[in-house]
Structures are given as structure tokens and as C-alpha cells.
């Protein structure tokens, strides 16, 4: 049976960052990848998508952006190119799908469709967004649906009105693209995180990074469960703000959360005004925080500003499905990791992996890249470096402990 000290599962930015750190510690390892390097960046992203973080933030262990457009946003082919280059020299085996991981001696048995591996330690970097969530809403037959992972472009949807469910990063971008293509778009809005693209003349990610917000640690924030379940930020990889006000100007109809289907009509919650108020208040608290930090740190930036409250339209509580109304539905209702291959007691009653900053209860089993894993930035490309270093340190200590026990 083949053997590696560490098996890393997944050759995306997280797995490759861990591989770099393991190599720096001379830990013999292999990176198993079900498809090609950057698989989900190639296969689960729509055509026009760009990274939501500016180019200067595409930092990985041993890699920094050195191009000519530090304030731009990478296209998906550019992200794939970057990760392919970054993977050069890494011990990646592509086209290897892990089918199970189970305890074996003082390590693990990693079964794949290409045969088993034995490993002392395993780092799961299989992605936070492996599966697109779609709610169990019984739509009438004849209404095609697509998730944010399967959506490619407006031409892939039938003619007519589109209901986009979810107003986080994916939902607002897809709704915007559909509205620009001339489609009648209805956007079902639940809780969301409103952000301007730039604040006081700088990218909002600059403020989040420089003020230390993105470095906030999992073991130092209150209500970690809530932090880990926050919706993604309303941003688009372009030099413009894409919030609900911008979408309304683009012609999208805003409605409340999709709450059900009755008599051939989609029903929407009457809570739209409140979710908008919550997001506006939260945005202003964030900007207050940036301003206070800027004062303390002596940051030179444009004058503080506040944005118009979200203009809530006259309430619409239902919309006809089919027959000239909504002819297709885009589920932009979030993503879930798929860690079903872990044959280990590391899940809670809701099937979520239990971990303390990426360290699971199974000794030597680590997980990477999940929301607020160790830091607020854990799901950003820029968040992989610090988490990979921390977890590699933990992993090396664990190997030392195993070696100490053996000797």
C-alpha cells in the first residue's frame, strides 16, 4: 500500500498552501485531487465571475501578486492559471477521488478510486463550497432551476422572468447580470451583508485587511456559530458597488425571502424592510469601526461618508410561476462542504464537521478553508496562508509526539 506522512485532500488554494508549508517542514506528503488543480474554480463558477478580493490580496505562502493591476480582480481563468503555476513542484496527483478516510493504526487509511493510501495525518482541503444548497421548495413542473454553481450565463436560462433566490455574493451578481441582459429579474432577499466596493477612496477589502478585521481569530470572537454562518459579502469583482439600491436601479424587483409556493405562485416573506434595516445598521457599525481605527492609526483617506439607506420597494408577497411570470429559478442560497467521505466521528448532529480552528477530535486530522476556520478571512484566498502555517505547526507537533511515543 502506498504511504505518505500526510495526505492532503484537494488541490485548490488551501491544499496547495498546506503543501507549501508541509514542504517547508520537510513533511513527506501527497495532494490528492479529484479533478485537476483548481478543480472547482474551473468547473463551478459562472463565466463572468471575477474574484471579489483585489489582486494584491491574492497572497499565498511563497506567492505574492506582482502584476501591473494590483487593484483589479482576477477572472476565473486567471485564478486557475495562478494556481497551476503555484502548484508547480507540489506532489499533486490529479484525477484521484477520495472515497473514504478511516482510522488505521495511529493514522488513517485514505481510500481512493485509484487505490488506498496510508497516512499518519490527513488535511482535508476539499472546499467550503463543494455543494450548492437548494431549499426543498416544491416548484411546479416546467420551471427549470439552476444553482449558483451550475449557472454559466443568461443564455443558459429560458426566456422570460427569472427568480434569483438569495442576495449574497452569488445572488446579487447573477441578478445583476440577468437584469443587464434584459431579463425581468425578481430577487428574493433574506439576511445579507451590505458593503460598498470602496470606502473613503479605498477598496473595502483594504479597510477590512488593514484594520485587522480579517485577522480576527475564531477563539476570540463572540458567538462563533453565528460568525461561521454569516452570509457572504455583497460584492462584485469590479470597481463598482453592487448593493440592493444598485440592483433596483438596474431594474431588479426586490422581494422578501422565498417562503413557499402556493397555488402556482412563489410566496415571499413580509420581512424585507427589516432585513434591509439590519444590513444598513450593520454596515454603518462597520464604517464607524473603520473610521475609529483610521483616526487612531492616522490613516490618510478621503472624508468619512455614509451611504443611502436601502430603498425598500412597495411590498410584493407573491409572484406567478410560469405562464408569463417567473420562468426559471436560480438558487443562490449558499454552499456547503461535502465531507461525506470522512468515515470518522467528527460531525455534529446536523452533519457539520466539528473542529477547533481546523483541528478535529481525530488526532492528526485537520480541515482547511471553512468559514471562520481560524480567522475571519479563512475562506478568502488570502486567508489560506496563516491557517496553513498554524495547522502545519500543529501537525508537525503531532508527528513529533507520535515519534516520541514510538521511540
Amino acid at each position: 500500500m502506498r504511504h505518505a506522512t500526510t495526505v492532503v485532500i484537494g488541490a485548490g488554494h488551501c491544499g496547495l498552501a498546506v503543501s507549501r508549508c508541509l514542504a517547508a517542514h520537510s513533511v513527506d506528503h501527497v495532494v490528492l485531487e479529484r479533478g485537476e488543480v483548481a478543480h472547482s474554480w474551473r468547473t463551478q463558477r459562472w463565466d463572468s465571475l471575477r474574484l471579489l478580493t483585489p489582486n494584491w490580496m491574492t497572497r499565498l505562502p511563497g506567492h505574492a501578486y506582482r502584476g501591473h493591476d494590483p487593484d483589479g480582480y482576477l477572472t476565473m481563468p486567471e485564478v486557475v492559471g495562478l494556481l497551476e503555476e503555484y502548484a508547480t513542484g507540489a506532489p499533486v496527483l490529479t484525477g484521484v477521488t477520495v472515497t473514504s478516510v478511516r482510522a488505521f493504526g495511529d493514522g488513517y487509511l485514505v481510500c481512493t478510486d485509484q487505490g488506498p493510501w496510508r497516512a499518519r495525518t490527513v488535511v482535508v482541503a476539499a472546499g467550503a463550497a463543494a455543494t450548492a444548497a437548494a431549499p426543498a421548495v416544491p416548484l411546479p413542473p416546467g420551471i427549470p432551476t439552476v444553482t449558483a454553481a451550475d449557472y454559466r450565463n443568461p443564455a443558459g436560462l429560458p426566456e422570460g422572468g427569472v427568480l434569483v433566490v438569495g442576495a449574497s455574493a452569488s445572488g446579487i451578481q447573477i441578478a445583476d447580470e440577468l437584469a443587464r441582459s434584459g431579463r425581468p429579474v425578481t430577487l428574493a432577499v433574506g439576511e445579507h451583508v451590505r458593503l460598498p466596493r470602496t470606502y473613503r477612496g479605498r477598496d473595502v477589502l483594504w479597510w477590512m485587511d488593514a484594520s485587522g478585521l480579517l485577522d480576527e481569530r475564531w477563539d476570540a470572537v463572540g458567538d462563533l456559530l453565528r460568525q461561521r454562518n454569516l452570509p457572504s459579502m455583497q460584492l462584485v469583482g469590479a470597481p463598482r458597488t453592487l448593493d440592493l439600491n444598485a440592483l433596483r436601479r438596474q431594474g431588479a424587483a426586490l422581494v422578501g425571502r422565498l417562503s413557499g409556493v402556493r397555488d402556482g405562485a412563489a410566496q415571499f416573506s413580509g420581512s424585507l424592510a427589516n432585513v434591509c434595516a439590519l444590513a444598513d445598521l450593520k454596515l454603518n457599525r462597520l464604517l464607524d469601526r473603520f473610521d475609529a481605527w483610521a483616526d487612531r492609526a492616522g490613516v490618510e483617506a478621503d472624508a468619512p461618508e455614509r451611504f443611502d439607506p436601502t430603498a425598500v420597494p412597495e411590498p410584493v408577497l407573491s409572484a406567478r410561476l410560469g405562464r408569463g411570470g417567473i420562468e426559471s429559478v436560480v438558487w443562490a442560497t449558499g454552499f456547503r462542504p461535502d465531507l461525506s467521505f470522512l468515515d470518522l466521528a467528527v460531525f455534529d448532529r446536523k452533519g457539520r464537521i466539528v473542529h477547533d480552528g481546523g483541528v478535529t477530535a481525530a488526532p492528526g486530522l485537520y480541515v482547511m478553508g471553512l468559514p471562520f476556520l481560524r480567522r475571519r478571512k479563512s475562506t478568502l484566498i488570502d486567508g489560506a496562508a496563516a491557517d496553513a502555517r498554524d495547522l502545519t505547526d500543529h501537525l508537525v507537533d503531532h508527528l513529533d509526539a507520535l515519534a516520541g511515543r514510538a521511540s
Binding site: G256, R257, Q267, S269, S271, N274, L278, L281, R285, P315
Partner: protein, 184 residues
């Protein structure tokens, strides 16, 4: 060092304790609320509330509460109690206001006074069957709070917004619910 103690009469420690207990044993979170109603005469009925189920066992209020439900003389009724739709407004106002007190306590905000006007619009053409396009229920509900508290206007707005986010009655009113009525 002296610290001012915020007291809105809410036992936040108990609420947070319940939240932790429920996280460990979600089955104890399954509650059932009940009311018994009996017809008296005309549009007058009387409803009683005493028991409920929750925290894994049968529970009981400290006493039985009785509510008269009727309609006013303008409906050719005897006005033995408020109308059913007004009970909905009572429930919404009570739920949101309790939430405001609890959230304020948790956020360390001392409340001095909390008042709200609750109003609902309804077109009688619905329940009277005059116009099938008009729904029976409310077409809109408005709640207007006046809050005096040791907090900034933005903090007070955030209290009210958070209370809506966590309110059962607000959810009941803004989202569809399956209602099954049987005859035994």
C-alpha cells in the same frame, strides 16, 4: 470601581442558559402552545390558556388565563371582548416588546420607557365575501415604537430590528404557516 447595573427585569443568564441547554439537547426545544376555546353566544367565545409542553415535559402557567373574544356593537355584537384580529396585534406588540427588553438587557442598554402603537389595515370586503380579490387578513401591519433608553438612536434602531429578527409572532405574520383544522 463602580459599574452601573443595567436592569430591564430580564433574566438574561437564564435565557442564555436555556440556549446552551438546548444546543446540547435540541429535543427539549420542541414546544407546544395551546388554547381551548368554547363558544358562548353570538360572536362571543371564551378562550382559556393554562398548559403547554416544553423542556421535555408538560408545563403549566401559574394560573389559568381566560380571554373573552367578541366583536363590538358596530358589528351588532355585545363587545364582551376584543376581536380575534386585535388579539393578533396584542400578540405582535407583546412579542416585539419582550424581545426589545431581552436584547437591550443582553446589550447592556437600560430602558426607561418603551411604547408602541400597533395598527393593522384590513378591508372588510374580504371576510364579507364582497370582493374575492380582497384577502381576509391584514393588508399591512405597522408598529411605531417610542423608546427612551441609555443608547444612541442607531443602537435603539438595532434593538428594534434584532427584536423583529428573533420574534415568533413577527415570523408567524410575515411567513406562511400550515394550519390544519379538523372535527373530531
Amino acid at each position: 470601581m463602580t459599574t452601573s447595573v443595567v436592569d430591564n427585569g430580564v433574566n438574561v443568564a437564564a435565557l442564555l442558559g436555556a440556549r446552551e441547554a438546548i444546543a446540547d439537547a435540541p429535543e427539549i426545544a420542541r414546544f407546544q402552545w395551546r388554547s381551548r376555546v368554547s363558544w358562548v353566544n353570538g360572536t362571543h367565545s371564551s378562550a382559556e390558556v393554562d398548559t403547554f409542553h416544553g423542556f421535555g415535559e408538560e408545563q403549566r402557567h401559574t394560573r389559568t388565563f381566560t380571554f373573552d373574544v367578541d366583536h363590538p356593537p358596530q358589528f351588532a355584537a355585545e363587545d364582551n371582548g376584543i376581536t380575534p384580529v386585535e388579539y393578533v396585534l396584542v400578540a405582535l406588540g407583546g412579542c416585539l416588546t419582550a424581545g426589545i427588553a431581552a436584547v437591550a438587557q443582553q446589550r447592556g442598554i437600560q430602558l426607561r420607557s418603551v411604547r408602541a402603537e400597533v395598527a393593522a389595515e384590513m378591508d372588510l370586503q374580504g371576510i364579507l365575501g364582497v370582493d374575492p380579490e380582497v384577502r381576509n387578513g391584514f393588508s399591512a401591519v405597522r408598529v411605531d415604537y417610542r423608546i427612551d433608553a441609555d443608547a444612541t438612536p442607531a443602537e435603539i434602531e438595532a434593538l428594534v430590528a434584532q427584536s423583529q429578527k428573533r420574534s415568533a409572532v413577527y415570523d408567524i405574520l410575515t411567513n406562511p404557516t400550515v394550519v390544519t383544522v379538523t372535527v373530531s
